[in-house]
Amino acid sequence: MPKISERLPGAGQFRRLIFPAIPAMPVWLYQPVTLVNKQRIIVAVHGISRDSEEQVREYCHLADRLGCWLVAPEFSAQAYPRYQQLARASGYPRADLALNSFLALWRGVVSQPGLKMYLAGYSGGAQFAHRYAMHHPQQVAALVLSSAGWYSFPDRKRDYPCGIANSVGLNRVRLNELLQLPMLVTVGEQDLARDGSLRISVTLDQQQGSNRFERAVNWSQAVRKLQLKKSYRPVQLTVLGGQSHSFINNMQQGRMAELILNFLQQSEGERNEKISYPVGSGNAGKYCRMSG
């Protein structure tokens, strides 16, 4: 078997790889043209289309700008039927642990024991990303959640996955550490459709809102409220003007790629700084709108 280092893509190239230790989770890896930041890796998680190649193609420009490796894991419907919730049920493969196995392996490959990831997800990928970050915040340097269908709210009285109580079979939720992460939430201004890919129920609608837009706003507000109480930097919610539910359109026409790049660059500068945001201050509870 060739060494892992011999199978990696060259600079400016990407390649689909299956690591034997993680056979159920192939990954698309992209090496930036110039590797500058060895302490970070972008992890871009697909939605229900499970199109990892699309993630790599769209994020590779960001990887070049940030000078770090990019990986897009592939959670197949067969191996990880409910990767959005980390696992289907007790005894089923855990998507979060598959990603952690990759990270552990990768830290060894690149000899960077302190490596953390910029974790970004779109739609179902954003569901995975925020639930992953709740359980493994120590692995994440910054979190980008785009157009999730629904969320786990930071509510300890409500069972997982709608809340964070009783996440049986998973690691414990580390809410306080999650709240300290730099977080960006994006959603299209026109992402209002209640189509077949959106989970709909009376309970969920009442708790979270009736579409992705409302749910993104409500989750961000719930998280922001807790962050402000602790004087943590609040989650940044950005609405993509005129955009509906399309990863490619959001990235290109909605300038989501540019937004994410700026956010990640900024997050490095401000990381772990405790900023005072008093409750009820001018910006609390509001969001910015980005024109496409």
Partner: protein, 353 residues
């Protein structure tokens, strides 16, 4: 002669041997696995000799003991080689290994001194070597093609990192769910504590390299160890086991283990691994090495699980489950391990009727 053999203290390593065949002592140079009659000269590190029932019998100068010539590699004790001649040498393991010490850990006493008096031979003059008493050699290895036995590897960062404790916790937890478990030790030096402990944990079947005629596995090539593992698998199938748990002695940097992890044939025989480590750095490096070898890691346990701060550090660098001993009695942990070994769909179907 039989009377003299009968009076000698018989070591653990002879547990498969029919000593009634011993008829004479020969003065030839011993080779690995040869049984020898030896006299205890000076008691030092090992004050007792483990017998075939697991009891550690106290030694006294002048005692005659039956031991086997072999190498030993143990970072916490001795590095020793097969004696080049009969005469003065050392007892380097309580299980009954006679060897010449090359190096010893500074934290322990010098080895107990013995004199080998001769090599045991049968009435025909043939040397009695452990390889003649290897029940696993009678197992049909083709059996493994008939049924695939999920094989859980227990690998450690070093000697005394908690491998056997972790392996036995897994045996006991899964056994309590009704699974038949074969617990095995693939490498190491012939000694009873791990063997008996695996029995105590409830394993339905326990075998080690001694059952294939090896007093120790030091210096075996990777392909020989793979063959040994295949014998374990065939034996597991033969004995109706559902799961095979395989402990590998010492740590990942031990030369034989390095070769083993570099062997595709070995990696292909393993379903997943548990890692035992005595600290966060050890856990991280061991896990990364095993992952890079191509083996899935289900979790980390062993000595590290006693130290909460080390566990936090490990979680930070690995993010994989920490498996304390009590976890193996929890449904979520057992579901996780069994689902990983058998495949989620199969496992879920089996548990929902």
């Amino acid at each position: 002669m039989n009377s003299r053999i009968g009076k000698a203290k018989r070591s653990y390593i002879t547990r498969n041997v029919d000593l009634s065949t011993a008829a004479q002592l020969n003065q030839q140079v011993p080779v690995k696995g040869d049984l020898m009659l030896a006299r205890v000269d000076r008691i030092r590190q090992h004050t007792r000799l483990e017998n075939t029932q697991g009891r550690r019998e106290h030694l006294y100068p002048g005692d005659e003991i039956i031991v086997a010539a072999s190498d030993r590699y143990a970072t916490g004790q001795f590095y020793a080689r097969v004696p080049e001649q009969l005469g003065a040498c050392h007892l380097v393991a309580a299980g009954g290994i006679a060897a010449e010490v090359i190096q010893r850990n500074r934290g322990i006493k010098a080895a107990t001194e013995i004199t080998t008096l001769g090599v045991l031979c049968d009435s025909q003059g043939a040397v009695i070597n452990l390889s003649r008493f290897a029940p696993l050699n009678d197992v049909n290895v083709d059996l493994i093609s008939q049924k695939k036995v999920p094989t859980l590897l227990v690998m450690g960062s070093d000697m005394d990192s908690g491998k056997t404790t972790l392996a036995c916790a897994a045996v006991n937890g899964l056994r309590q769910l009704g699974y038949r478990i074969s617990a095995t030790k693939l490498t190491g030096t012939g000694a009873g504590p791990d063997y008996w402990r695996m029995h105590d944990s409830g394993a339905d079947r326990v075998v080690d390299f001694l059952d294939a005629g090896f007093p120790s596995t030091v210096g075996l090539e990777a392909h020989q160890l793979v063959s040994l593992l295949q014998q374990f698998k065939a034996d597991a199938v033969d004995s109706g086991s559902d799961i095979l748990i395989v402990e590998v002695a010492d740590g990942i940097l031990q030369p034989d283990n390095k070769a083993l992890l570099g062997s595709d044939a070995f990696v292909n025989e393993i379903s997943a691994a548990l890692i035992a480590a005595d600290g966060a750095i050890a856990a991280t490096m061991t896990t990364q090495t095993v992952l890079q070898a191509g083996i899935s890691v289900l979790g980390i346990g062993g000595v590290i699980s006693k130290a909460p701060l080390s566990c936090n550090e490990m979680q930070e660098s690995l993010g994989l489950p920490l498996l304390g001993l009590s976890d193996f009695h929890k449904d979520e942990c057992r579901d996780y391990i069994l689902g990983s070994l058998f495949g989620a769909e199969y496992y879920a179907a089996a548990h929902t009727g």
